[in-house]
């Protein structure tokens, strides 16, 4: 008789059947990967970053391979929040998984407006992207200072009728200060990390590989930085933390849970292994069985540091 283990986590009014969420921008709106596995197995899906109006994004090349990671400079290409609500929500809703709408804007008003619109749609939570390094206006420029974070989150919180997750950029001197600002301004949770600003050069052509020159670094290479930030933030804040950055399997995910994350997101790893998301769920279960853990919640913040 195999032991019964609990994989469900709840936080900020969101109930997930397991703590593994597809990271925004790496999973589209779920359509493509639904041909590879049952996306209803996921705890949730953070959809491609949305803006009020459709966006074309940055010119290609938009990706560069780096040691154990990638740089991307997609620049928030998306069909706009209205097309998302009309065309994509009905598709994802066919699966039993939480829908997290990742939202960006150039101005505080944009953030406010998109939150209002999303609040009236059939989603489970809003993830406010204050951390995209690949667009000129808004986004990371708000997320880089406690004041910027406070300003946006306070305004958004007033109109939000869904749980509000604030996604943080790692490109800051003091991630704790930023997370506390989000908490103080009313965030129901924080998610981190978005990508680290980086660059790749082709020595042969003497040109940057990305048309946008710089891009956001993700994948296993950033895991140590992500783990450290998740650890620091979850010790400092009272709201739940969603951890991500380089998670490729169950063991990586367990490390983030131990560091204090209540749930995790998996992104880049899926480009290499399209089953990375489900294998991460299976891997956490396998770890729990091997180590006699009955409830995934026991792992959260379970790091021993005496």
């Amino acid at each position: 008789m195999s032991r019964k283990i609990n994989m469900a986590v709840s936080f900020a009014g969101i109930n997930l059947k397991n703590p593994v969420i597809a990271a925004s921008g790496t999973f589209g709106f779920g359509r493509e990967y639904s041909q590879y596995f049952d996306i209803g197995r996921l705890g949730g899906i953070a959809v491609k970053g949305l803006t009020l109006l459709p966006r074309k994004g940055n010119p290609p090349p938009r990706i560069a391979e780096t040691p154990s990671g990638i740089l991307n400079s997609v620049g928030l290409q998306n069909p706009g929040v209205h097309a998302f609500i009309k065309d994509e929500i009905p598709f994802i809703r066919k699966y039993n998984t939480a829908i997290i709408a990742n939202a960006s804007g150039n101005t505080v008003e944009d953030y406010e407006k998109i939150t209002e619109i999303l609040s009236d749609s059939d989603i489970d939570a809003i993830e406010l992207n204050l951390s995209c390094p690949n667009v000129k206006e808004g986004c990371m420029s708000f997320g880089s200072t406690p004041q910027g974070v406070k300003k946006v989150v306070e305004r958004v919180k007033k109109v939000a009728k869904k749980p509000l997750i604030v996604k943080l950029t790692p490109n800051v001197t003091d991630i704790v200060e930023i997370a506390l600002a989000a908490q103080d301004a009313g965030a129901d949770a924080v998610s981190l990390i978005n990508t680290l600003l980086g660059m790749a050069i082709d020595a042969k052509t003497r040109r940057p590989i990305l048309a946008n020159i710089t891009g956001g670094l993700s994948g296993p290479a950033v895991k140590p930085v992500a783990l450290r930030m998740v650890y620091q933030v979850s010790k400092a804040v009272k709201i739940p933390v969603i951890g991500m950055g380089g998670i490729s399997n169950g063991q990586d995910a367990v490390e983030f849970l131990l560091a204090g994350a209540t749930a995790v997101m998996v992104g880049t790893a899926g480009f290499v292994n399209p089953y990375a998301w489900v294998e991460t769920i299976d891997g956490i279960e396998a770890y729990m069985l091997e180590n006699g853990v009955d409830d995934v919640n026991e792992l959260i913040g379970g790091l021993i540091t005496d």
């Binding site: 154990s68 290409q77 292994n273 399209p274």
Partner: protein, 258 residues
């Protein structure tokens, strides 16, 4: 589909070009000319991302398909080290291939460098009685697959940049001359952007439709991450399409060459 398949054989065609035959019931039965596979080259993170490689030839009966690749960097280097019998991790068939219209009587494929590889299966699958192949290489030593292209075309023209074999110059020179004499129903391009752009312009003057296969750096390879953007016409405006899902093959008139 992501599959762990067996390598039937791997053959060195010249100093840095390899042909790999992969056994795959799924891919050989589902793939069409112009589609590609996305390959994990070696375990671990040495070549972190998958590498997109065109399907060059399909043997539906023996349930194998061939890829032909140039060793460029880390990934293709690792790929060249595989042995027959080894397992390989492939996603595919991916993307949209070339359109084959059985009513067409006269077609041409025009390719340069690594762009020639996806064109072979077009010739193999196309029922047209007149099939011209125009292939370009840098130099004589790099000419590969000549016999195969000969076998499946009714006429094969080769150009080399340095004139060491065939016509000295570009495939577009040969194409320009050819279209004066012959009326193609459709031309299929694959190769460097400049070559395709020039070729498409030549055909435009003669009102000959064409398709082009486009290259772009990829992440997911299936349309989820949006990194493989290429500019396409959309009414009077333009938008980014995605090479891995909307392509790699596009109608020539849809592509905006920069």
């Amino acid at each position: 589909m992501r599959l762990i398949e067996k390598i039937n054989c791997i053959e060195k065609l010249n100093s840095d070009t390899f042909l790999m035959r992969i056994e795959s019931e799924n891919i050989s039965s589902e793939a069409s000319a112009g589609q590609f596979v996305n390959i994990k080259c070696g375990e671990g993170s040495e070549a972190f991302l998958r590498r997109p490689i065109s399907i060059c030839s399909i043997d539906r009966e023996n349930k194998t398909f061939d890829i032909v690749f140039n060793v460029r960097g880390k990934g293709t280097k690792l790929l060249s080290r595989y042995d027959s019998g080894d397992e390989i991790d492939v996603m595919g068939p991916l993307g949209r291939g070339f359109t084959i219209d059985p009513s067409h009587k006269s077609i041409a494929v025009v390719g340069g460098g690594i762009g020639i590889f996806p064109l072979l299966q077009v010739l193999k699958d196309h029922p047209a009685p007149n099939k011209t192949a125009i292939l370009g290489f840098r130099t004589r030593d790099l000419v590969v697959l000549e016999d195969s292209f000969n076998q499946y075309s009714t006429e094969l023209l080769i150009a080399t940049d340095d004139g060491s074999y065939g016509h000295k110059g570009f495939v577009t020179d040969l194409l320009s001359k050819k279209v004066e004499a012959q009326n193609f129903d459709m031309v299929y391009f694959c190769g460097p952007s400049v070559m395709m752009k020039l070729g498409v312009e030549v055909l435009k003057k003669h009102n000959i439709p064409s398709e082009v296969s486009v290259e772009q750096r990829m992440g997911c390879g299936i349309g989820a991450c949006l990194v493989c953007a290429c500019k396409t016409r959309k009414g009077s405006d333009w938008d980014y399409s995605h090479v891995c899902k909307d392509g790699p093959v596009f109608k020539a008139e849809d592509i905006i060459f920069d």
